[in-house]
């Protein structure tokens, strides 16, 4: 495990899902299910030291390893990019997912740790919720070759607001 750099950030998401922890758990460990919400192709070996490789699109592949797999309660895996994106090489960051049953629902808390403490982290934190629906629309149809004009416009707007607010 690489030493934690002095300046890193954490991004945390919380979401309630009207499903059992067992069901939600499978969407982090079953390669045919994870692609329902992230990426187009996945190789997952959900046990400590097992590979977690997810092709997000033509240009980017996430590469990491499962660190902890506690059925239906907790999943921890490392996360980085095979390509040289964002000072996040394979295994350089950590994703922790906890699943807590709350009545008929499951509370999912996803923390992304050790993000490099630069604009990328600021963007990660501030950019998601506000801009992502628009980015997703820009990429609608699942065609990874984005329309450059439309996408630049959206991305540039998002980055400007993030840069100015950080």
């Amino acid at each position: 495990m690489p030493a934690t750099p002095a300046e890193t950030s954490v991004v945390e998401h919380r979401i309630r899902i009207a499903a059992h922890p067992e069901t939600v758990f499978s969407y982090f460990t079953d390669p045919t299910k994870i692609v329902h919400w992230m990426g187009t192709e996945a190789t997952l070996d959900p046990r400590p030291g097992g590979a977690c490789r997810i092709r997000l699109n033509e240009a980017s592949v996430v590469l990491g390893e499962y660190v902890e797999v506690e059925p239906y309660r907790r999943i921890v895996f490392t996360w980085g990019y095979e390509q040289q994106w964002f000072s996040m090489p394979p295994q350089s960051t950590l994703v922790e997912v906890s699943l807590t049953p709350e009545g008929a629902e499951t509370l999912v808390v996803l923390s992304h740790r050790r993000l490099p403490g630069d604009l990328a982290a600021a963007g990660t934190r501030a950019g998601w919720s506000h801009y992502l629906p628009r980015l997703v629309v820009a990429a609608a149809g699942g065609d990874p070759r984005l329309d450059p004009w439309q996408d630049i416009d959206v991305v540039v707007q998002a980055v400007r607001d993030v840069a100015e607010s950080s």
Partner: protein
């Protein structure tokens, strides 16, 4: 140079927008701005190192164009573990249990 850092600079975003409309030479780009040609060349260099634009030579001229795959990287970084992705996870998991409950009630 990081992609985010490259795009965070306002002048470079303007250059990206300009090049998204079509390939241009460094001189053409510079003529649209009130800054010096060396300053524009520096911005173009940064954008190129970040993988956001590509350069080719045409005689003595250097021509620049946008690289869509450079943006695809930025796009997937922004979207991978986003609230939009988690919203899709929510829909998929809830749909699975709804279908399961329907199947169980049929038996």
């Amino acid at each position: 140079m990081e992609v985010f850092e490259a795009v965070a600079q306002p002048k470079r975003r303007e250059i990206l927008r300009l090049l998204a409309a079509g390939e241009m030479s460094a001189g053409d780009v510079a003529s649209r701005f009130s800054v010096t040609q060396p300053a524009i060349s520096q911005h173009l260099r940064v954008l190129k190192q970040a993988g956001l634009i590509a350069e080719r030579r045409d005689g003595a001229r250097r021509l620049y164009r946008v690289r869509p795959e450079g943006l695809a990287g930025l796009h997937s970084f922004l979207t991978a573990l986003s609230s939009a992705a988690l919203e899709r996870l929510k829909q998929a998991a809830e749909e699975e249990e709804r279908v399961g409950a329907r199947d169980a009630s049929r038996n």
